[in-house]
C-alpha cells in the first residue's frame, strides 16, 4: 500500500511530506472516493473560510497554509489587544490596535510562499448567502456562541438538495483553559450547533435581589457595581469594558461595597474577569484544538483518510487538566432542532401562572433556547414583537397577561424569532409544570 505512487503538488520538494500522505492511500483510505492524482490540484483550487483571527484563528490560518490550501479568507472585526499576545502568535506589540484579520493574513502570506489570504475586517452578519456560497469549507475559531449559531443557521439555510455545492461542511473549535472541543457538521445531514446547544449552557445568573441586598461573594459586589451602581451614577457616557479607567471605577465601587459587607476577595483582576466574562486561554490548547480542526479539513478535502462527521463520530472533547483525556463520539441530530429539524422542541418547566413577560424573560437562560430578544407568535397570531417600535408598542400589553389569558395551553406550539438569528423560526412546544 505504502509503495503507491506519490503525485506531487506544484512545488514537489516543498510539499514532499504532505504529498506522501495525502496523495497515497493508507490502510484506512476509502478507495471509492480517493483519487491521489487529483488531490493536490483540487486542494489548491478550493476556497476556505476561516471565521475568527484570534487564538484559534491564528493557528487555523497557519495550519491551513501548511496543509496545502492556497485560497483562504478570514473574517474578524476585532483589533489586537495586549492580552492577545500570550497566544495569538501572528501579532507583536507594535500591532496592538490594528485589525486582527489584516495583520494575521499578511503575516501568514509572508511566511508561507504561494498562499493567498483575504482578510475581512467586519462582522459575519455583514455578508449574505452569496458570499458564503463561494467557499467549499468553513472553519470557526470563535469565542461567542451567538456567532456560531448564526453561521450554523446560515449554512443550513443555504442547503439546496438539488445542488451538491450548496452543502458547506462546518468545522468548529472552542477552548477554555486546558480544555476544548472540535466538531464537524455536515449541514442538514449531521447534528448541528443548535442540536448541541444544551452542551454549552449559559452560566446561571445571580438573582438581582442577591446583588441588591444580600451579597456574599466578591463576584456579587462586582456585578452590583456593574449592573446597579453604574446605571445609577453613569460616571462615563457609555461603559467601555476595555477602558482601564472604567474598570477601575467598577473595581473601586465593588471594593467599597465589599468592605461594607466584610466580603473578602475583590481585586482588579476579578472585576475585569467578571465584567468581561473572561475565559482563560493559552497557546498550547489553541494549538491542539485548531490543529484537530485543520486535520479534519485536510481529510475532508483530500479523502486520504476517514474524517470526523460522517458516518460515526463527529465531536471530540479534549481535557488536559488531569492527565490528557479525549472523548470522541457521535452527537445525534435532533428531530426537534429548531434549525435543522422538523419538529418543535419541548420547552419544559413553564408555569401556567406565568405572564407572557415571564415566558419571554425565561428564553435567555434556558439551555435549549438562549435567546435574548425573543419575539413570540402562536397559531399565526403575534403575541409579542421586539421591533419595529410600533408593533412593540401594540403588543406590549400582552406581556402582562398570563399564558392562560392569552389562550396558550399545555402542549401548545409557539414560534420564536430573535434578531440575532434572522433566518430562523425556533419552534417550541410549551410543557406546563404539573
Amino acid at each position: 500500500m505504502a509503495s503507491a505512487e506519490v503525485y506531487p503538488a506544484s512545488e514537489p520538494a516543498r510539499w514532499t511530506y504532505l504529498d506522501r500522505v495525502r496523495t497515497r492511500p493508507g490502510p484506512f483510505t476509502n478507495p471509492d472516493i480517493f483519487s491521489g492524482e487529483a488531490v493536490a490540484a483540487a486542494m489548491e483550487a478550493m476556497k476556505i473560510l476561516v471565521i475568527g483571527a484570534g487564538g484559534l484563528g491564528c493557528e487555523l490560518l497557519k495550519n491551513l497554509a501548511l496543509s496545502g490550501f492556497k485560497d483562504i479568507h478570514v473574517i474578524d472585526m476585532d483589533t489586537i489587544d495586549i492580552s492577545n499576545l500570550n497566544r495569538q502568535f501572528l501579532f507583536r506589540e507594535a500591532d496592538v490596535g490594528k485589525s486582527k484579520a489584516e495583520v494575521a493574513a499578511r503575516f501568514v502570506e509572508k511566511r508561507v510562499k504561494g498562499v493567498k489570504i483575504t482578510p475581512h475586517n467586519c462582522k459575519i452578519q455583514d455578508f449574505d448567502e452569496d458570499f458564503y456560497m463561494q467557499f467549499q469549507l468553513v472553519i470557526c475559531g470563535l469565542d461567542s456562541i451567538e456567532a456560531r449559531r448564526w453561521i450554523n443557521a446560515t449554512l443550513i439555510n443555504m442547503v439546496d438538495e438539488d445542488v451538491e455545492d450548496s452543502y458547506k461542511p462546518l468545522i468548529d473549535g472552542g477552548t477554555e483553559g486546558f480544555k476544548g472541543q472540535a466538531r464537524v457538521i455536515f449541514p442538514t445531514v449531521t447534528s448541528c450547533i443548535e442540536c448541541q446547544l444544551d452542551m454549552h449552557a449559559p452560566r446561571a445568573a445571580v438573582p438581582l435581589c442577591t446583588l441588591a441586598s444580600i451579597p456574599r461573594q466578591p463576584e456579587h459586589c462586582v456585578e452590583w457595581a456593574h449592573i446597579i451602581a453604574w446605571d445609577q451614577e453613569k460616571p462615563f457616557p457609555q461603559l467601555d469594558k476595555d477602558d482601564p479607567e472604567h474598570i477601575t471605577w467598577l473595581f473601586q465601587k465593588a471594593l467599597l461595597r465589599a468592605n461594607e459587607f466584610n466580603i473578602p476577595g475583590v481585586t482588579y483582576s476579578l472585576t475585569q474577569g467578571v465584567v468581561k466574562n473572561i475565559i482563560p486561554a493559552i497557546a498550547a490548547t489553541n494549538s491542539v484544538i485548531a490543529a484537530a480542526c485543520c486535520n479534519e479539513a485536510l481529510k475532508i478535502a483530500s479523502n486520504c483518510a476517514p474524517f470526523l462527521g460522517l458516518p460515526d463520530d463527529n465531536y471530540m472533547m479534549y481535557s488536559g487538566n488531569d492527565s490528557i483525556y479525549t472523548y470522541t463520539f457521535r452527537h445525534d441530530k435532533k428531530d426537534d432542532c429548531p434549525v435543522c429539524g422538523q419538529l418543535a422542541r419541548d420547552l419544559p418547566g413553564v408555569d401556567r401562572a406565568w405572564t407572557l413577560r415571564d415566558l419571554v424573560d425565561s428564553f435567555a437562560a434556558l439551555p435549549e433556547a438562549q435567546l435574548k430578544k425573543p419575539s413570540v407568535r402562536a397559531e399565526g397570531k403575534t403575541l409579542y414583537m421586539q421591533s419595529p417600535a410600533s408593533l412593540e408598542a401594540q403588543t406590549r400589553p400582552n406581556l402582562d397577561k398570563t399564558l392562560v389569558e392569552l389562550g396558550l395551553e399545555d402542549g401548545q406550539e409557539i414560534g420564536v424569532t430573535d434578531p440575532a438569528f434572522a433566518t430562523v423560526i425556533f419552534k417550541f412546544r410549551l410543557k406546563f409544570k404539573q
Partner: protein, 556 residues
C-alpha cells in the same frame, strides 16, 4: 469605618502592570506562582527528524514566557522543511536549522532568551550538556541518534531532569514523559464542584453552637429569616433532630438519607408568596452529596503509603515533611485538615460571612496544628508555612505521579521492555472484548509502529544531514513489523498492528503539520504542568490517532 475604607481604596488607575496585562489570560489558570516557575525555566529541545513538532511545542512555551530555551539541531534547512515548519522561511534555506528556528521563535516574545546549537560555544550535544547551566527539562524528537539519546538519559539521571520523548509521523504521534522519580503535585486544580467539604457529620463546637443559635426558635422565625437560613445550618439542625430520634446515629444508608431529605423538604414553608423556600431546596439537594463520612482519597493514600515503602528518601522536600505531618494529623483525628472553603448559598450577608469565618478559623487551626508537627520533624523548621497552607487546602486532591518510578533506575531499561510486553498483553486482551464493553480500541499498535522507527535514518553520523530523509532511510511496513516482533513477540500478527505499520510507512518519516501542531500543543501543556507543578501531568505515555481523532494515555 470610613477611614478604613478610604485607606483600602487604591489610587485612581491603579491597574495591572504591562506584564500582567499581557499574561492575563494565563495568570487566571496558574497564577503568579506558576508564572514565576515558568519564567525561571530553562528548556532544551534536541530537534531531530522532520523537526516541526519540536518547534511547535517550543512556540507554545515561548508565548506564555518560559525563561530561556536552547535548540540543538544538526540539520540544515531544506525545501521540505518549508512545507511543514512555520518557523522557517525561504531565507533560511541551507542555513543551520537550529539557528533559523531560534531566530523566528524568539521573536514571539521579547521576554524570552533562546540559543541555537551547535554553535561556536558548543559544537556537540555532549559539550552543550556539559557546559550549560542545568536544564529544567529536556525534550527530544524522534527519530534520534541512539548515542545522543544515551547522553540525554545519562544527563537526566545525573541531574534529575525530566525528559520528554516526542514522535510525530503522518497521522500518528506519541510522547512519553520520563520523570526522575515520584512527582507529587499539591495544586492539582480539581473541579470546583468536587471540593465542597462541609463536615456536617463531624461538626466542631463552634459550628454546632452557631447552628443551634440560629435554629433554636426555628418555627417562630419570620418568613424572611426562615427563608435565609444557610443550608448548612438547616442540615445541622435536622441532623441533630435525626440523631436524637435514632440512638445518636446519623443517617448512613441511602434509604435513611432520602428519608432525611424528605424531612428537610417538608420543613420548607409554602404559605409564602414564592410558594417555597430556595434555601430548603438547596439543603435538600445537598443531603446526598454532602452527608458523607470522612475518608482517605486514593491519591493521598498513595502518598501516605509511598512514604512507608520508601523511607530513606533522598529528597525529603517540604512536600514529604508536610505529607508526613498530615498523615499524623489524620491518624490523630480520623479526618483531613479542613480546606475551609464555603460554597455560596442563599443567606443574609452577615450570617454567611460569620459562617464563612467559622470554617476559615477551623481551617487555620488545623493548618497550625500541622505546621507544628512539621516543625518538630528534622528539617521541618525550613518549611514555608505557605506551603503547609496550600497542602491543607488541597489535601484531598494531592496526587503522586510516577509513584513507582525513580527507585532502582539501574535496571529501568529492562523493566521498561517488560512493562511494554505486559501492557501489550493487557491492551490486546481488552480489544478482544471491546465490542461488548463499548470501550474504544487500544492505540498501543500506533505506539509500537512509531517506536519501531524511533532511530530510523539516524545511523549516519554526518553533521550536515539534509533533513528531508530520502525513502531509503525510512522503513517499509515489513521492516516496522519485524522490529515490533523483536520488541513484543506476537504483536506483529495483530491486524491493527499491521495497519498501523502501513500507516507509519506511508508517512516515511515525514510530519503532517496539523499532527505536529496538535502534538506540540499537548506536550506544551504537559511541560507547563511539570514546570509549574500545577494540574496533573500524563503518567507517562500519550498516543494520538489523527485518523480516529482521539488520544489514549498508557503507562509504559
Amino acid at each position: 469605618m470610613t477611614e478604613i475604607i478610604m485607606s483600602q481604596t487604591p489610587p485612581i488607575l491603579h491597574g495591572p502592570s504591562e506584564k500582567e496585562r499581557k499574561y492575563d489570560r494565563q495568570l487566571r489558570l496558574w497564577a503568579a506562582s506558576g508564572q514565576a516557575a515558568l519564567e525561571s525555566a530553562n528548556i532544551l529541545l534536541v530537534n531531530s527528524g522532520a523537526g516541526t513538532v519540536g518547534a511547535e511545542t517550543l512556540k507554545n512555551l515561548v508565548l506564555p514566557g518560559i525563561g530561556r530555551f536552547a535548540i540543538y539541531d544538526e540539520t540544515r534547512v531544506s525545501e521540505a522543511d518549508l512545507g511543514v515548519n512555520f518557523f522557517l522561511d525561504d531565507s533560511c534555506l541551507g542555513q543551520s536549522r537550529s539557528q533559523s528556528l531560534t531566530k523566528l521563535i524568539v521573536e514571539l516574545n521579547p521576554d524570552v532568551q533562546g540559543t541555537g546549537y551547535p554553535n561556536e560555544d558548543a559544537k556537540t550535544l555532549e559539550s552543550l550538556l556539559a557546559g550549560s547551566p542545568v536544564f529544567t527539562a529536556i525534550m527530544y524528537t524522534h527519530p534520534i541518534r541512539p548515542d545522543q539519546l544515551s547522553q540525554l538519559e545519562a544527563y537526566g539521571q545525573q541531574h534529575r531532569t525530566p525528559l520528554v520523548a516526542i514522535h510525530s509521523a503522518g497521522f500518528y504521534s506519541s510522547f512519553q514523559i520520563n520523570l526522575p522519580g515520584a512527582f507529587p503535585i499539591v495544586d492539582t486544580h480539581p473541579d470546583e464542584t468536587a471540593t465542597t467539604d462541609l463536615r456536617l457529620l463531624t461538626p466542631w463546637p463552634e459550628l454546632v453552637a452557631f447552628a443551634e443559635e440560629l435554629t433554636k426558635n426555628i418555627d417562630s422565625l419570620d418568613n424572611f429569616e426562615h427563608g435565609h437560613l444557610p443550608y448548612v445550618v438547616i442540615l445541622l439542625h435536622y441532623l441533630q433532630q435525626w440523631k436524637a430520634a435514632h440512638d445518636g446515629k446519623y443517617p448512613a444508608t441511602y434509604k435513611e438519607k432520602t428519608e432525611l431529605r424528605k424531612v428537610v423538604q417538608s420543613a420548607a414553608r409554602t404559605n409564602n408568596p414564592e410558594g417555597g423556600e430556595e434555601n430548603f431546596d438547596e439543603a435538600a439537594a445537598a443531603v446526598l452529596k454532602t452527608l458523607v463520612p470522612p475518608s482517605l482519597p486514593s491519591g493521598l493514600k498513595e502518598v501516605f503509603e509511598h512514604e512507608q515503602t520508601d523511607p530513606v528518601s533522598l529528597h525529603r522536600s517540604g512536600f514529604w515533611l508536610i505529607a508526613d505531618a498530615v498523615k499524623q494529623f489524620y491518624e490523630r483525628h480520623q479526618c483531613l485538615p479542613l480546606p475551609g472553603k464555603l460554597p455560596d448559598m442563599k443567606a443574609q450577608s452577615k450570617v454567611y460571612i460569620q459562617l464563612q469565618g467559622i470554617y476559615k478559623a477551623k481551617a487555620r487551626r488545623d493548618a497550625a496544628e500541622i505546621l507544628q508537627i512539621v516543625q518538630t520533624a528534622p528539617g521541618g523548621e525550613h518549611v514555608d508555612p505557605a506551603e503547609v497552607d496550600l497542602f491543607c487546602k488541597n489535601a484531598a486532591f494531592v496526587k503522586l505521579i510516577n509513584a513507582s518510578g525513580g527507585a532502582g533506575s539501574s535496571d529501568a531499561r529492562i523493566s521498561r521492555a517488560d512493562r511494554l510486553k505486559s501492557a501489550a498483553a493487557l491492551e490486546f486482551a481488552n480489544d478482544e472484548t471491546a465490542a461488548l464493553t463499548l470501550a474504544p480500541l487500544s492505540l498501543l499498535p500506533i505506539y509500537l509502529a512509531l517506536q519501531a522507527t524511533a532511530h530510523v535514518g539516524t545511523t549516519s553520523t554526518s553533521t550536515s544531514n539534509d533533513s528531508s530523509s530520502s525513502s531509503s532511510s525510512s522503513s517499509s511496513a515489513d521492516e516496522i513489523l519485524a522490529t515490533i516482533a523483536e520488541q513484543v513477540p506476537g504483536a506483529e500478527k495483530h491486524e491493527r498492528v499491521v495497519q498501523a505499520a502501513h500507516e507509519v510507512a506511508r508517512a516515511a518519516g515525514g510530519e503532517l503539520h496539523n499532527v505536529a501542531a496538535l502534538t506540540g500543543g499537548m506536550v506544551a501543556q504537559e511541560m507547563i504542568k511539570i514546570v509549574t507543578k500545577q494540574y496533573i501531568p500524563v503518567d507517562n505515555t500519550c498516543v494520538y490517532d489523527g485518523i480516529g481523532g482521539r488520544c489514549q494515555v498508557l503507562r509504559l
